[in-house]
Symmetry: C2
Subunit: 360 residues, 2 copies
C-alpha cells in the first residue's frame, strides 16, 4: 500500500475546518483534531485521520451530537461523573481529564468517569496530559463488545484499552496504551483482506473453539451468531487468557459501573461508531509520595536500563512502552505524517463534499 | 500427589504459634497466618502454608527481621510511603492497607507505597480489605526479576502481580489477582519435575529464543546467564507480549519508584525469599461517584451475565475473576484445607523443631 507524507500543520488545518463545517465548536474541533493527529504522529493510524469519515458519518446520523451539552452528574473535590449526552468523546474527555488534573493538584489524586460518550481516540492522549504536571496519568474506555470471556463463545466486553503514563527526565515518558484483548478488530480485518489464516490464540468461533478463518469470524460476529476476539493471554488459561479477561472487566467497572452506564453487550455498535461508551480518567500527584525530581531520575535509570537490555537473537531492539511512539512522533513531525492512498482519497472526497481544500 | 484435608482453625493455631515462636509479635503472627491461609482457602497453595518454611528460613537468616520497626517516610491525608525496614511484608501491608482505607473514607481515594519489604502473600488479600467499606481495592507488589522484556533475553522485572477488587451484592465480589508474567516460576518448576517440555510462549532461553527445556532454563536463570519468563501475551508482539511487559513496568513504577526503591534486577533473590520488594496499595470510595447500593446491583447484573454466558464446546463453565476462589473458600472452610503430603511432612518437621504439635 502506497503512502505519501503530509505536513502536520496542513492536515491539522484541514481537519479542524471539516469538524467546524459539521457543527463542532471551534474549541471542540481544535481538541478533536489534536487527538486524531496525535494517533497518526505516534504511529497508530487506525485511530488517526483515517477515522475522520466515521466521525462525519456519526455527525450525519446524529449518533454523535455536535450540539450536546455534557451534564455533570456528580462532582466532589476529587471525583467527577459526567454524562457526555451523546456528544463528541474527544472534547468531553479532554475537559474531564483537565478537571481531574486540576483537582489532583489540590487533593493529590482525582478520578473521573464519563458515560454516554462516543469514540475518544487514543487513550494515551489523555493519560499523557498528566505528565507536565508531574503526575501519573490514567485513561481507559470501554467499547462495544468484541471480546469473549475465557471458556465462553460470545462477546461480552470491548477491546477496553488501558493507558498509564508516568514522567521521566531525559528518557521519553513511560506511556502504556494497550487494548486488553489480544488484538483489535482492525487486525482481524487486515488478515481478512490478505486472506490469511488467523494465528492461534487470537479468536474463537461461534462454538468457542480456536478460530482461523477471519471471513467467517467477522460474519458471525457481525450477525451476533457468536465468536469473537480473545482477551490478552489468548485461549483458555494456559497462557493467562483469564488475566486479560479480568483486566477487560476491570476497565468496564471503572468506566461504566462507576458512572452507571452499560457495558459491552449493551453498547450498540454500527458501521459508524460505538455509541454509549464510557471512559475513566485519573491523575495521581507524584509529590504526595516523594520529590518528583528524584522520581523522574529514577525513571530515567529504570527506562534506560530496560532499553539497554541485551536484545534477543534476530531482534532489532528492546523498547519500553511509549518509546517507539515518541520516536515516531519526532520523525512524523519532521518528515510529515504518512497517509495511505485510500486515506488520502477519503480526505479528498471529504474536501470535495465540504468545499474545504485538501492539499494532496 | 496425595492430599489430606485439615481444619482451618487447627492449621491457623499451629501457624500462629510457629510465627510467635520465631519472634513475630502476636498481632503480626495473627495477620501473617490469615494472609497465608487465605491463599490456601482460595485454592492458591503456592502462596499458602506450603510457604511456611521459607518464612522460617527468612527469620533464621534475618532476611526477614522479626524485630523491624517500620518507618513512615512520608504521609499526607491520602498518601503513605512506608519503609518496612526488612520486616514481615504481611503485617506492614495489612497495616498500610488499613490506613489507606481509613484515609479514603475521608478523602475519597488514597494510596500507599511500601519499600524494603518481604513477600506479602497474595495481593488479593489486601485488595479485598476494601470491599466491606464499599470501596475498590488495589494491591500490587514487585518481586525479584524473573520476567524478560519483549525482544530481550534477560530478566528485568518480577512476576509483578496486580490485584483489583470491587464489591457486588448477591454475586461474589470481583477479585482479579494476576501476575503480569504468563506464569510464575512455580509453574516452570512443575514442568521440570514432570520432565515435560514448556508450552510455546511461556519463556525464552539465554539467547532470547523460545525456551522449551525447563531444566536448562531454570539453571540459566539461577546462574544469571540469561533467559526467563515471558510477560503476559508471550513472545514478541504477535499475541501482545509488549502489553504484559508494560503492565509489569507499571507495577514497578507504582510499587518501587513512588517509594524510591529498587526494581527487579536489583532485588536480591535467594532460596529463601525476595528481599527489598516494594508494594502499592489503593482504595477508591465508590460513594464519590454514585450510590454504592446501585453500583453493587449493577455489579450483580454484569457479573451474573458473565458467568451465564454460553460456554465453549468442551468447557465446563464460564467464571469471572474471584468466583472460583470464593467457591473454593467455602468448600475448603467446610471440608478442610487440602495439603500435599510433602507440605504435611514439612509442617511435622517444623512442629518437631519448635515443639509445637502439628495434628496430622
Amino acid at each position: 500500500m502506497k503512502e505519501t507524507r503530509h505536513d502536520y500543520r496542513e492536515l491539522s488545518d484541514f481537519v479542524k475546518k471539516v469538524f467546524v463545517h459539521f457543527g463542532l465548536s471551534q474549541v471542540s474541533a481544535d481538541i478533536s483534531t489534536r487527538v486524531l493527529l496525535e494517533a497518526d504522529l505516534r504511529g497508530i493510524p487506525s485511530h488517526g485521520i483515517a477515522r475522520l469519515l466515521r466521525y462525519i458519518d456519526g455527525f450525519k446520523t446524529r449518533q454523535i451530537l455536535t450540539d450536546a451539552v455534557p451534564e455533570m452528574l456528580n462532582e466532589t473535590d476529587n471525583s467527577i461523573v459526567m454524562d457526555c449526552c451523546g456528544g463528541m468523546g474527544t472534547a468531553v474527555s479532554h475537559d474531564v481529564m483537565n478537571r481531574v488534573i486540576s483537582k489532583a493538584k489540590h487533593t493529590g489524586a482525582a478520578f473521573g468517569s464519563v458515560r454516554n460518550s462516543n469514540h475518544f481516540g487514543i487513550a494515551g492522549f489523555y493519560a499523557m496530559m498528566a505528565l507536565p504536571e508531574n503526575m501519573i496519568g490514567i485513561a481507559m474506555t470501554n467499547t462495544a463488545a468484541l471480546g469473549v470471556p475465557t471458556f465462553a463463545r460470545q462477546v461480552m466486553f470491548g477491546t477496553n484499552p488501558i493507558a498509564f503514563a508516568a514522567p521521566a527526565d531525559r528518557e521519553e515518558a513511560f506511556v502504556l496504551d494497550m487494548s486488553t484483548t489480544v488484538v483489535t478488530r482492525g487486525k482481524i480485518e487486515v488478515y481478512n483482506r490478505k486472506e490469511e489464516p488467523l494465528p492461534d490464540g487470537w479468536a474463537v468461533d461461534k462454538n468457542g473453539l480456536s478460530a482461523h478463518d477471519p471471513k467467517s469470524l467477522l460474519a458471525d460476529m457481525w450477525s451476533r451468531i457468536g465468536g469473537g476476539i480473545l482477551p490478552l493471554g489468548g485461549l483458555g488459561e494456559l497462557h493467562g487468557g483469564h488475566k486479560g479477561y479480568g483486566l477487560a472487566v476491570m476497565v468496564d467497572i471503572l468506566c461504566a459501573l462507576l458512572a452507571g452506564a452499560p457495558t459491552g453487550p449493551d453498547i450498540y455498535d454500527t458501521d459508524i461508531s460505538s455509541a454509549r461508551v464510557s471512559h475513566f480518567f485519573g491523575a495521581i500527584d507524584i509529590a504526595r509520595f516523594r520529590d518528583p525530581v528524584l522520581f523522574r531520575k529514577d525513571m530515567d535509570n529504570m527506562l534506560g536500563r530496560l532499553r539497554a537490555t541485551p536484545k534477543a537473537d534476530e531482534e532489532e531492539r528492546v523498547w519500553f512502552a511509549g518509546l517507539k511512539e515518541a520516536e515516531q512522533t519526532k520523525h512524523n513531525m519532521a518528515k510529515g505524517i504518512p497517509l495511505l492512498d485510500k486515506t488520502e482519497e477519503m480526505l479528498k472526497r471529504v474536501g470535495a463534499e465540504t468545499g474545504i481544500r485538501f492539499d494532496a
